[in-house]
Symmetry: none
Subunit: 185 residues, 4 copies
DNA sequence: CATGAATGAGTCTTCATTCAT
DNA sequence: TATGAATGAAGACTCATTCAT
């Protein structure tokens, strides 16, 4: 009847973190449950005390990712700042979160092949569309798709090539997207 | 010995094409040698007469893809039109090619997880940097990364969600990127 | 030290009873120690305080079952009634007991696959042989095997198909076995 | 394109026969795919070229069993002999088939725990009911259940104890069931 | 060249058993 | 005594690769 020392939720987080590190290192497809267990310093079978299956681990990693991302988006959009300010918040927030958790970010490569990101991106686009409609009439979902694309596309390039200086790119994203490339009068 | 009806190189190409179709359909991780053989209309063992291993097949499929992609970019950039025109060509060309071969495009999701795209994207960014430097001084590699990001990011969203109207997005990409979102005076 | 609230033997019996219920429900092969522990309302590890292993638990469950079965048979045979009467008692007793504990009966399916029933059935046949020899000279072990077979075979059919009305079949068993099918003069 | 030497159907039969031998030796629950493969003299993976799963092997064993059994029943019932003759045919046929294939018979112990035998036994009982109704009015399904029970119950005892002389028991079954135990006037 | 049956290493998952608390 | 987290051996199933024909 004595309560066990182990905090189940904490242990679950440890394993998930270990899994994310492994996924980041080798990709989900090449990650074995043994790898995750070893990274977490436990026996293979113990992973199953906390996650139902290998897929459940990816699932959990995904949830963790989108939870963070959603928070950023929500925060940026619910502010009362002027729209351009909020757009800047959004871009900076997203990129900071991603750059701050490279391992988690790497799982995006696997997540994209899933259809878990579909609703997330859809909501993201719609929120941005609403935001930019306040900047200038005539801006809508297509342009929002471009904004989201610029952010995620910059991340993508960093994932493909770690030398891309992701942390420094929030500025350029905003410059290009807000001011455009064309020479001003 | 007269040459056989089917020459080796051609047969190898057929298998490669079949492999790409299969990879596009189910992703690389879920594609079996059996699937490729069936798609190519030959026996499983025969695949090994042309490719040393599953990985070699992958490698070949990836190389073919990047070669195609490189050609698009080169073509757009080597024109003598004014820079903004060439940018437009590039954006439209890339998106048209990708939207025109949806099956092939799916392969990108796997490609990104390899490092085959690293040099391709690097060259892509550098070429775009050179191009936009001609539009306005002060524009450079960071902005080029955003441009490439916007293009690839829009494609990414379409891969994640087929309802994203990729074919209609070349225009919005250019609008945002060239003119910016900000209200003009 | 005053005796603990629950004495060891009683607790052991509780666990055994729980085990039998579980085995009856799902069959032995599909029964997990966890299931037994849960049915007994204790922790999995505690089962091992009373039984050395899963097999020991099985063994105990089987022994309990055969002990019960032997008691039935002994009781029916030790009466001083005339032979046909005792045969009727035996058939009715056996079927009533089995039909009265359907959960327990399911265990028979597993028991048959072990050799725990071998001596029990042997004794059963011999006792019946002795009994029927008093009904008519010339009747012996082969006929006893048929009698026991008819009883157990009817039970078997009920285990295979719960719609077989086991509770109503003691009569027909006796009719067939005592009177035979043939039209009497 | 050259046709392979191996007759797939024959090979499948070989594996099934090997499986039945293994099942007979250790019971289905304790039988490993490795055991079956070794018994068949092939590699573990090869079993899966012919059977989808371990369960499919039991399934196949079952089908083989009931095919034989059904044939016996059908043959006995479709004869034009007088009813008592046909009953004798049925009892002798069933017991001969079972006694002639002890390995296959042993799988009955596993089959019974499945619900595959439910419809088979139901049909068996109904056929016998029809048959005995021709022997004497008033005989019906309950008595048929007893007949089937006597046959299967005798087999059961032989499975539990190989010393039970199954091959010699068709006679006693008929004697008891046709004539009854009671002393005739 | 082509075939496709055969192989067996590799992986996920389960679960009896142990043991620190 | 009791607990239940942890362990790791075992087993089903997959599939890249080989090779006899």
């Amino acid at each position: 009847m004595s309560p066990k020392r182990v905090d189940k939720a904490a242990r679950k987080q440890e394993i998930l973190a270990a899994a994310v590190r492994v996924f980041a290192r080798k990709g989900f497809a090449a990650s074995r449950i043994d790898d995750v267990a070893e990274e977490a310093g436990i026996a293979k079978g113990s992973v199953y005390l906390y996650f139902d299956s290998r897929d459940a681990l990816l699932e959990a990693a995904f949830s963790q990712y989108t939870a963070d991302a959603d928070a950023i988006v929500a925060q940026a959009l619910n502010s009362t700042d002027p729209p351009l300010e909020r757009l800047a918040l959004l871009v900076r927030g997203t990129i900071d979160v991603i750059a701050g958790a490279p391992d988690l970010a790497r799982t995006l490569l696997d997540l994209w092949a899933t259809d878990h990101m579909r609703p997330a991106y859809k909501a993201y686009r719609e929120a941005v569309a609403e935001l930019i409609a306040q900047i200038r009439p005539g801006l809508g979902l297509p342009h929002a798709t471009v904004i989201v694309g610029a952010i995620e596309g910059v991340v993508l390039q960093w994932l493909v090539d770690p030398e891309v200086p992701i942390a420094d790119l929030a500025g350029p994203v905003l410059e290009v997207v807000v001011e455009g490339l064309r020479e001003r009068a």
